[in-house]
């Protein structure tokens, strides 16, 4: 609820900036989540939303997704859980479709401790290639720094890879989007002086539509 209010506030803030594009959209979300080993694997679906703002050389988007994960077939997991994930991406355009990207990601799990809550700061690059008027391909890679988990531990290696597609009107009034995001988080915890590797891996696909506001 709190995050939804934040998203609405961001949209309200962005709307008066009519000189640039503001896109808002809804998405269907599909996910695959794995933790610790092959026995703990989940997949599920849910709904999400996105607000995107372009302002001169800067652009950014805020995404929220709620995914209901169920134990995958063949998985030893028994509990289902709901993941509420908030993502922020802020970009600064360099040249030729390449942008520097930073941002924040936060994943809340309900019920608690079914899997790990997770927060991190992302930093990386994004490539945007226009196939034609209103048709764009996106590719991005980020390092997830300062990772924190509800169960403690660290993640010296946490990477994120993304592939996106946007097809719509040349004037950006509407468009259909598809976005793939893969996260690998090599979490390590120390229990009673012993280090344990507890890796986490999540793949999420978002498919939706957005409308453009402003000029």
């Amino acid at each position: 609820m709190k995050r939804a209010l934040v998203l609405v506030a961001l949209c309200a803030f962005a709307a008066p900036v009519s000189a640039q594009f503001v896109n808002v959209g809804v998405q269907g979300v599909f996910g695959d989540y794995r933790e610790l080993g092959p026995a703990l694997s989940y997949n599920g679906g849910g709904i999400g939303g996105i607000a995107e703002l372009n302002w001169h050389k800067f652009s950014g988007d805020f995404q929220i997704a709620k995914i209901n994960f169920n134990p995958a077939s063949g998985s030893a997991a028994t509990d289902k859980f709901t993941s509420t994930q908030f993502d922020a991406h802020l970009r600064w355009f360099l040249a030729s479709g390449i942008s520097l990207e930073t941002g924040y990601t936060k994943r809340d799990i309900s019920p608690d401790f079914t899997t790990q809550d997770f927060t991190a700061i992302r930093a990386g690059v994004r490539a945007n290639y226009g196939l034609g008027p209103g048709v764009n391909l996106l590719l991005r890679g980020n390092y997830l720094a300062a990772a924190k988990f509800s169960g403690g531990g660290t993640a010296p290696l946490a990477l994120e890879l993304g592939l996106g597609l946007s097809v719509g009107a040349a004037n950006n009034r509407y468009r259909f989007t598809a976005d793939y995001e893969f996260q690998r988080i090599d979490r390590k915890t120390t229990i009673s002086g012993t280090d344990y590797k507890v890796p986490i891996q999540q793949a999420v696909a978002r498919v939706g539509a957005a409308i453009g506001l402003g000029r």
Partner: protein, 343 residues
Amino acid sequence: MRRAALFVLAGLSAAGVAAAQGTAPQNATLRRAVQAAENLNLPQAITLANQALGQHMNATDQERAYSLLGDAYSNQPDGFDKAMNAFRQVLLINPERQLDPNRTATKTLVAFNMALSTMLLVRGVTVDSSSFVVGQGAVPIHFTVTSPARVHIKAVSAKTTVNIDSSIANGTVNVRWNGTLPNGDPVPAGDYTIVVDAAAEQNTFSAGARVHVSAGTVDTLAHLTSMPGYSKLPDMEVPPRSWRPLGVSFLYAGIAGAGTLALENSQLGSANRRELSLVAVGVLATGVVMMLKKPSPVPAQGNILYNKLLDEQLIRRNADIAQQNVTLRRQVRLTVAPAAVTK
């Protein structure tokens, strides 16, 4: 004695006392004065003319009465000054008044000319009919100034006033007007008054002549809307179909797929890759569609530059044409014809 009487009679006639005006005076007393003069009874003519001047008369009768007095006084002993004053009154009423030297007594002529020389008058403003190309001719203007004065000549119409000449002049003056405005353009066609203002000390006098100015037609060059022999090229052009969209789609999907495979943690087993497949298939399908789709027009920089150069040439040509038209418009043929003379 008989010879002198004939001169007086001839002078009276020339001065317009009797037949020169063509019609009999309207004033009865003046008619009697004229009759007395024709009978060579000059004292009675003078008496009756003075009586007539004390009565209400029109300008023609007044001029005739003063003329009669001038003529009669000039033939009286010690009447020269009175004759001169009478002729001054005649000239005030009609500055263009002339005496025929062949039909006027010498004394009368002397008195008239003396009167004329003591007044500042501009007489006989005439404009010759003329037709000329502006810049290659002029229209002659003539007039007479009776005493030294600064003379300013101008052409006045309802729309404009053009200064023609300004100088010190005396006697017969001939000037030429080239029919142009100060900027060199020909004066607009229409009715003008050639006004001659004369000023000497406190005395001023103005006279004018009306003329009509008509202008011939001028063949000017039409402005160009395009460069002859050249046509503009389209600013946008459709590029040929290309494999590039499909190639880039494969590249992006391949990087994402290979990256996913590389990043997958072997400890977690193999993922089902449903999410990757969903988006990658969409990307590849879009690449195929964009490859097959007719490309959208894109700006043709070469054509845009070519069109810009054409536009610049067109602007230059039209500027040249405009300059030529200015010259052509100045070479118009003006025809100046006099109208009625005004005072």
